[in-house]
């Protein structure tokens, strides 16, 4: 039955006149729909802020979804479909940045880790200071000389 869909696809190309031959194996109807929906969920609607092509009802999103379905039907792999839209809209069209931008993923976790280390270090330092016993003067003479020092410091 798949040869029939291939024939239909080829006839559609003839009518459309796209001049774009299939790049790979033409998927079944169900597979085409499933893959198109999955791809539509990761691509950004160019009109509606923050919405995926799958979720947006804007005309542009509907047109993109149709184009995704068309490309999948032509035998494009998922990566080729994504690259097609990136080539026209830039990586901005992806809802999630590519994993090759490792700094985007590692930096926040790294900063959080450094923050924990710093806070832990400060807590440890404070514990050390508070756990040291207070040195109180032993003799009356020491108390009096201590009082003298305090009074002098206050006057200054």
């Amino acid at each position: 039955m798949s040869w029939l869909w291939l024939l239909v696809g080829m006839l559609a190309f003839a009518v459309e006149g796209t001049g774009e031959p299939p790049l790979g194996e033409v998927p079944s109807v169900q597979e085409k729909e499933d893959r198109a929906m999955a791809l539509a969920k990761i691509l950004r609607c160019p009109v509606c802020q923050g919405l995926s092509v799958a979720d947006s009802r804007a005309d542009a999103a509907v047109a993109m979804k149709n184009r995704i379905t068309e490309l999948v039907g032509m035998g494009y792999t998922d990566d080729q479909v994504v690259d097609y839209f990136i080539g026209r809209y830039g990586e901005w069209v992806l809802l999630k940045p590519k994993s090759k931008h490792k700094a985007l993923w590692i930096a926040p976790i790294g900063m959080l880790f450094i923050g924990f280390v710093v806070v832990g270090f400060r807590i440890a330092q404070r514990s050390k200071i508070t756990s040291q016993p207070k040195q109180e003067p032993d003799t009356e003479q020491e108390v009096s000389s201590y009082r003298e020092e305090l009074l002098q410091a206050l006057e200054e």
Partner: protein, 171 residues
């Protein structure tokens, strides 16, 4: 002064300030211009006027491709500028084409009848052309050189002067 703490603080703060400064170089509202520098996608479309036009037919001279809609206010603002530019460059082999974006043909015709036209308007019912050019909204105007390469993309309404600046560089 505790130089150790100062050093650690600087080591953490300076890179952050650097990235912040780099961030100011970018306009967060600017749309990508991926197609600038690339070959303009070919197309063959019917016009509102009732005939067919292909981009390949226009090779040899610059082409101005303007995506617009009748419901788009900025498109109305730039319309007179485009008409004036089209008339100015008519004798210099510059082709002007409009593309009706996400709109009904009857409304596009009404707009043209009301506001005038100096060049054909292509119909793009499936928005296939808009996707091929990476159009995110209207108005967007592409300037294509005589070799078929996109040299400039304007996002938003344009003026005759801004367009002339680019076209004069191509002639």
């Amino acid at each position: 002064m505790n130089w150790k703490i100062m050093g650690v603080g600087m080591a953490l703060t300076v890179p952050l300030l650097y990235f912040l400064a780099r961030g100011f170089e970018f306009d967060p509202r600017a749309l990508p211009e991926e197609m600038v520098g690339e070959a303009a996608p070919d197309f063959t479309r019917n016009t509102i006027e009732g005939y067919e036009i292909s981009l390949s037919q226009l090779r040899g001279g610059p082409v101005v491709l303007n995506f617009w809609s009748s419901w788009c206010r900025p498109c109305l603002l730039e319309h007179d500028h485009l008409l004036a530019a089209a008339k100015q460059y008519k004798t210099k082999d510059v082709a002007f084409l409009g593309v009706l974006y996400a709109d009904e043909e009857v409304k596009g015709k009404k707009f043209i009848q009301k506001h005038g036209a100096a060049y054909p308007t292509l119909l793009d019912e499936t928005q296939r052309m808009a996707i091929d050019y990476g159009v995110s909204g209207v108005p967007e105007t592409f300037v294509i050189d005589k070799d078929g390469k996109i040299v400039k993309k304007f996002t938003g309404p344009i003026t005759k002067e801004a367009l002339s600046e680019v076209l004069d560089g191509l002639l």
